[in-house]
């Protein structure tokens, strides 16, 4: 994971947790949009949104990371941001989704997932000598390890970073979102 130590990171907050994702995996940042519920899907799935003609399934960030619900209550739907994440190329056949072949070109393209966050905080470049930002791979030990991350499954953490003294976790997005979304067409 040496590339992770040289990556550009987007830092965001979900509940009390400060997280980061590699900028390469973030396709865009949008205001939170109203979602269309998908009946049967677990609560961690907020629903579907329309991102310029493309249907994107949105995962509720605070639920996925086991944080408290945002305090804004009724206004939740319109607060915060949504990251459109790119989970990489889909392989034909494993492409999720109901529906026909109309979107085959898309299905063979990038696999997009929405992820709601409370606040986008910063963009960092690490590993280029900026002394105030350091990144330690998980299991590296002495900077507190997973200790400062109550309730977060350690397998979802790729690395832990520190910027201006504050700790953040670099999420393993595939490990976090894969199990929620993975549904073969055969099960339909």
């Amino acid at each position: 994971m040496s590339d992770a130590t040289r990556a550009r990171l987007l830092v965001f907050r979900v509940g009390t947790l400060v997280c980061a994702a590699e900028v390469d995996q973030v396709r865009e940042i949008l205001p939170r949009l109203p979602t269309t519920r998908i009946p049967g899907a677990p609560p961690v799935v907020a629903g579907l949104v329309n991102v310029r003609g493309r249907l994107v399934t949105v995962v509720e960030g605070w639920r996925a990371l086991k944080q408290e619900a945002p305090a804004t209550g009724e206004g939740v739907a319109n607060s915060g941001s949504m990251l459109v994440l790119n989970l990489g190329q889909t392989t034909p056949g494993s492409a999720g989704g109901a529906g026909g072949g109309a979107d085959q070109a898309q299905e063979q393209g990038d696999r997009l997932v929405g992820f709601t966050v409370d606040e986008v905080m910063d963009m960092l470049t690490v590993g280029t000598g900026a002394a105030e930002t350091t990144v330690q791979e998980r299991g590296g030990g002495d900077d507190g390890g997973d200790g400062g991350l109550p309730g977060l499954d350690p397998t979802l953490v790729r690395a832990v970073g520190r910027s201006h003294g504050a700790l953040f976790v670099i999420l393993d997005l595939a490990a976090l979102l894969g199990p929620i979304l993975l549904q073969g067409r055969g099960e339909q």
């Binding site: 109203p34 269309t36 519920r37 998908i38 009946p39 049967g40 899907a41 677990p42 799935v45 629903g47 579907l48 949104v49 329309n50 310029r52 003609g53 493309r54 249907l55 994107v56 399934t57 492409a95 999720g96 989704g97 109901a98 529906g99 026909g100 072949g101 109309a102 979107d103 085959q104 070109a105 898309q106 299905e107 063979q108 696999r111 997009l112 997932v113 199990p179 929620i180 979304l181 993975l182 549904q183 067409r185 099960e187 339909q188």
Partner: protein
């Protein structure tokens, strides 16, 4: 020059020619005395040879060259070929197909055809006629150069689908005579009456009219695909005529059409927003309304054009079936006449690509299990040659594809017994309806074949076919009668991309229901209520229709809104099955763009996709097959 970018094109074009070869070989096998097939075969193989040589595929070109040699001998000899020769040509065509596929993947070396080449050479040597007899050249082969004489050379190709081509051709000649003197008509007019007149003819016309006037006058007769004036260009080869006579085609990567489709979907959504804005602002500047209306019209037309561009005639898939049926029948020692109807019916390319395999399964089944052996058929006073018909028919909003055989039919009693033994059907059931029969047959792994042959293992085939067709939003029906035969009917939506749908409200949510399977709508309470197998049901014209309450099924938040007093019921119908869907209200009927979405774990298996409504918000599409 880097030729690799042409490999795909080479593959596609070669396949078309090889498909034509198979068709011609089948025709020749049926009627070896016919002089037509060999000419077409020669031209197709010759074309493949030329293309392969250009691409540098030496082995493909070599194989095609030897085939061409043999075909040339046969053509000159002009006598019917023996069965051994036909079978050799079938094998050579298969080998050529394989060679083409290997060549484009750079594995031409894997090709082992030394023996076949030797066999082709031996056959050619045997058939070499010392002096080619002056066999009557087929009329269609007359080249324009033969049509010497004064006046302008006029070459005409009629539309492939034109009925009564001979009559049309005579009308055109008569029209030409009104412009001047017609001579050197080729073929001569009596040939117009023959069955194999393919709609291409030529003549010399002495006239003072200019080219545009001639063309306009002749096209005015109708059904003219192409008029060539003065050019000594050979008429379009037979293959193109078979392909519908359309010559102004380009090949487009399907992904491009998909991308266009997505863009048009976005445009339709944006149009909805624009219309809303226009309604709000038109008091300030009424011109905005005009613009909005114009954009609406243009985008609708654009959408229709793109959908049309995706439509493909079914022959593109059907054309390989005659060979398949023949091979299977031969292998099993059966005699089968295979007929294809409705070849020109069009389906969305994406659907067409998916139905090939299910049709292969069903056709194999029909030959293997449907059609009896010639001896058995004779015993039952049937024609020893069985018949299988594959027919495509356009229905309301769908296309029906029918595969029927006149074979022994499915033995319901035996299927019922076996199903009961396996616990699939309750022991109290006394007879299986067609619908139940299909459900039993479609259970994965359910097989009634006494021995699983290499051709088909029955249940497996129907299972696969059912799954595929349902995934496309289609349905399968079965009808079978002992001794008279079995018919499968596949119903498919014409396009996956855009469908007409009913938008229904359930609580605060909207769902789209494709109209393909909507039979009617009735009002809850307006019909008698009953129950059926523990479910609420209504009685509709003496038939009990079970109900599905969408609020309950989809787990709609009851607290958010209570159901209205009068709720509509949308009756879905697929084959014999009917179900009433209880919704809160009907919002509209509109065309929707079908899109796939990433379905999370747990998603109810009743959605076939999603769409984006005019206000930009997604709505899920209910799958009729999943609800029935």
């Amino acid at each position: 020059m880097d030729l690799s970018q042409y490999a795909e094109l080479f593959l596609a074009e070669s396949r078309e020619h090889l498909s034509a070869c198979n068709q011609l070989l089948l025709a020749w096998e049926r009627n070896p005395a016919s002089p037509e097939p060999v000419g077409g075969l020669f031209r197709s193989v010759h074309t493949v040879k030329g293309m392969a040589a250009t691409m540098g595929y030496a082995r493909v070109a070599d194989l095609a060259h030897r085939m061409e040699n043999l075909l040339d001998q046969l053509r000159r000899a002009g006598r019917p070929p023996g069965d051994a020769i036909i079978q050799l040509l079938f094998r050579a065509t298969d080998a050529l197909e394989k060679a083409v596929a290997l060549a484009v993947t750079g594995r031409e070396r894997d090709l082992d055809i030394a023996e076949l080449l030797a066999e082709l050479d031996r056959a050619a040597a045997r058939d070499a006629a010392p002096s080619p007899p002056p066999a009557a050249a087929p009329l269609a082969a007359a080249s324009p150069a033969d049509i010497a004489g004064s006046g302008r050379l006029v070459q005409i190709t009629l539309r492939a689908e034109a009925p009564l081509k001979g009559g049309r051709a005579l009308l055109i000649v008569r029209k030409a005579q009104s412009l001047g003197t017609v001579h050197n008509l080729t073929p001569a007019s009596p040939a117009f009456e023959t069955e194999d007149f393919d709609g291409r003819f030529a003549f010399r016309l002495e006239t003072s009219a200019d080219a545009a006037a001639i063309e306009q006058a002749l096209r005015g007769v109708g059904d003219v695909e192409r008029i060539v004036l003065d050019e000594d260009e050979a008429p379009a080869p037979r293959l193109e005529a078979a392909a519908g006579g359309r010559t102004r085609h380009i090949r487009v990567d399907l992904r491009r059409l998909d991308a266009l489709m997505d863009l048009i979907g976005e445009l339709v959504t944006a149009r909805g927003r624009l219309n809303e804005l226009a309604a709000r602002w038109s008091s300030r500047d009424p011109a905005i309304d005009d613009v909005a209306i114009q954009i609406s019209r243009l985008s609708s037309e654009l959408q229709a054009e793109i959908i049309q561009a995706r439509m493909t005639p079914v022959w593109q898939v059907f054309d390989r079936f005659p060979r398949l049926v023949r091979d299977v029948a031969r292998q099993l020692g059966k005699q089968v006449a295979f007929r294809v109807e409705g070849k020109e019916i069009e389906l969305d390319r994406a659907i067409l690509d998916e139905i090939g395999d299910p049709l292969v399964h069903l056709l194999r089944n029909a030959v293997d299990h449907g059609i009896e052996t010639p001896a058995e058929r004779r015993k039952r006073h049937k024609n020893p040659e069985g018949e299988i018909v594959l027919a495509a028919v356009r229905e309301r909003a769908s296309v029906a594809i029918r595969i029927s055989d006149d074979g022994r039919g499915i033995d319901r009693a035996r299927i019922l017994q076996k199903a009961q033994r396996e616990g699939v059907v309750s022991p109290h059931v006394e007879a299986l309806s067609d619908d139940q029969l299909l459900r039993v047959l479609a259970r994965s792994g359910f097989s009634t074949a006494d021995a699983v042959t290499s051709v088909s293992g029955r249940g497996v085939g129907i299972d696969v076919a059912m799954t595929r067709i349902r995934a496309l939003g289609g349905s399968i029906e079965i009808r079978t009668e002992p001794g008279a035969g079995t018919t499968f009917v596949l119903r498919l939506p014409v396009t996956l991309a855009i469908v007409r749908a009913l938008i229904a409200a359930v609580g605060a949510e909207r769902y789209a229901l494709p109209l393909t399977y909507v039979a009617e709508t009735v009002e809850f309470g307006a019909t008698a209520m009953t129950t059926m197998e523990g479910r609420d049901a209504i009685v509709l014209r003496d038939r009990v229709v079970p109900l599905v309450d969408l609020r309950k099924l989809l787990g709609t938040n009851e607290a958010a809104s209570s159901p209205p007093q009068r709720r509509p019921i949308i009756v879905l119908e697929m084959g014999e099955r009917r179900t009433g869907i209880v919704v809160d209200g009907m919002v509209s009927q509109q065309e929707i763009v079908v899109k796939a979405f990433e379905a999370p774990r747990g998603t109810l298996p009743v959605f076939s996709g999603a769409t984006i409504m005019g206000d930009g918000v997604p709505a899920l599409i209910l799958d009729a097959a999943g609800l029935l």
